[in-house]
């Protein structure tokens, strides 16, 4: 029994040594012996990573433009006036959560009725 155990241990050591030697033999000069880890990782995702080659990824941002912001403010003001024309005296458009979406924590863009205060708000920045 003891003899069998020794033989199987020796066999295992031999197989491991042979495998390691074989891997070393397959390496080119100065190649990292652990390259297989990275290879296995990227072999699975290569298709998805290379499918957009030759294209432009659009990661654009919105730049603040004083002139365009003013034009946009005016346009929104006109639209709001047109939408509220006629019925806002009787049914004021109450905003129950003034400043809820305002990052600064207070409802700078809204008055107590929840109506938009165009002088204090900045629609370009979203409040």
């Amino acid at each position: 029994m003891k003899r069998k155990l020794v033989i199987s241990s020796l066999c295992a050591v031999f197989v491991l040594t042979a495998t390691a030697y074989g891997q070393q033999a397959g390496l080119v000069t100065d190649q990292n012996p652990r390259y297989e880890i990275s290879r296995a990782k990227y072999m699975n995702v290569a298709d998805s990573l290379t499918s957009s080659q030759g294209t432009t990824v659009q990661n654009t941002y919105k730049a603040y433009d004083w002139y365009e912001a003013r034009e946009e403010r005016r346009k929104l003001r006109r639209e709001a006036r047109a939408a509220n024309a006629g019925n806002d005296w009787f049914y004021p458009s109450v905003n129950y959560y003034p400043g809820y979406y305002n990052n600064w924590g207070y409802g700078g863009g809204y008055n107590s009725w929840g109506r938009h205060n165009w002088r204090r708000s900045n629609l370009w920045l979203g409040w």
């Binding site: 030759g54 990661n59 730049a63």
Partner: protein, 198 residues
């Protein structure tokens, strides 16, 4: 009777105005090298300027001679990778990257291989040929040219505006990287600044 005449004349006048108002648009073909700035946004002139700068710079770079020396005269093989547009406008880099590719092919100093969707289409065509083409004309898998370098790039911008004035700065970068070593062998850039007054 008089009233009918007035109505008829008015109808003619209105239809005349409508017809004339419909035909105010004018379209004129212009030279693609002409510089026409309308909105101040990125346009064909900017793309052309970038293409000119990049093509001159990339073919005049030292990387080609270094490669030819190291690889005993074998021409470098390039694949075009991603270009990231991180500016504030929608810009498609293909308009100037294609010019660079065209120069690679026409100069015969650099070999170009397909990447991305086009490469997938080529492989799909090869797969189709395995079943449908004659044995003599069927193209085999595993014989593609592996690229030595990948061309990648980025577009950035800075906008400074106040009241009716605006200064827009664009910086377009292309870079060529050795796929084996990750070494960047060439970087080209083109900077464009525009002053826009509304």
């Amino acid at each position: 009777m008089q009233f009918k005449k007035i109505i008829t004349l008015a109808a003619f006048a209105v239809s005349g105005i409508l017809i004339s108002s419909c035909s105010t648009r004018q379209v004129t073909r212009v030279n693609t090298n002409d510089t026409i700035d309308i909105s101040g946004n990125w346009n064909n002139t900017d793309s052309r300027m970038v293409a000119q700068e990049m093509t001159q710079s990339i073919l005049g770079g030292k990387w080609i001679s270094t490669h030819l020396e190291e690889k005993k005269g074998k021409r470098p093989v390039v694949v075009v990778g991603l270009v990231q547009n991180k500016s504030h406008e929608h810009i498609d880099a293909e308009t100037f990257v294609k010019d660079v590719e065209q120069v690679f092919v026409s100069s015969e100093r650099v070999r170009l291989v397909q990447g991305g969707k086009k490469r997938e289409e080529l492989r799909a065509e090869k797969a189709d040929q395995q079943d449908n083409a004659t044995v003599l004309t069927m193209k085999k898998f595993g014989l593609e040219n592996g690229a030595d370098y990948i061309l990648q790039g980025s577009i950035n911008s800075i906008v400074d505006s106040h009241k009716k004035q605006k200064v827009v700065y664009y910086q377009v970068n292309l870079e060529l990287t050795d796929i084996q070593t990750n070494e960047v062998v060439w970087i080209g850039d083109k900077k464009i600044t525009k002053y826009v007054k509304n």
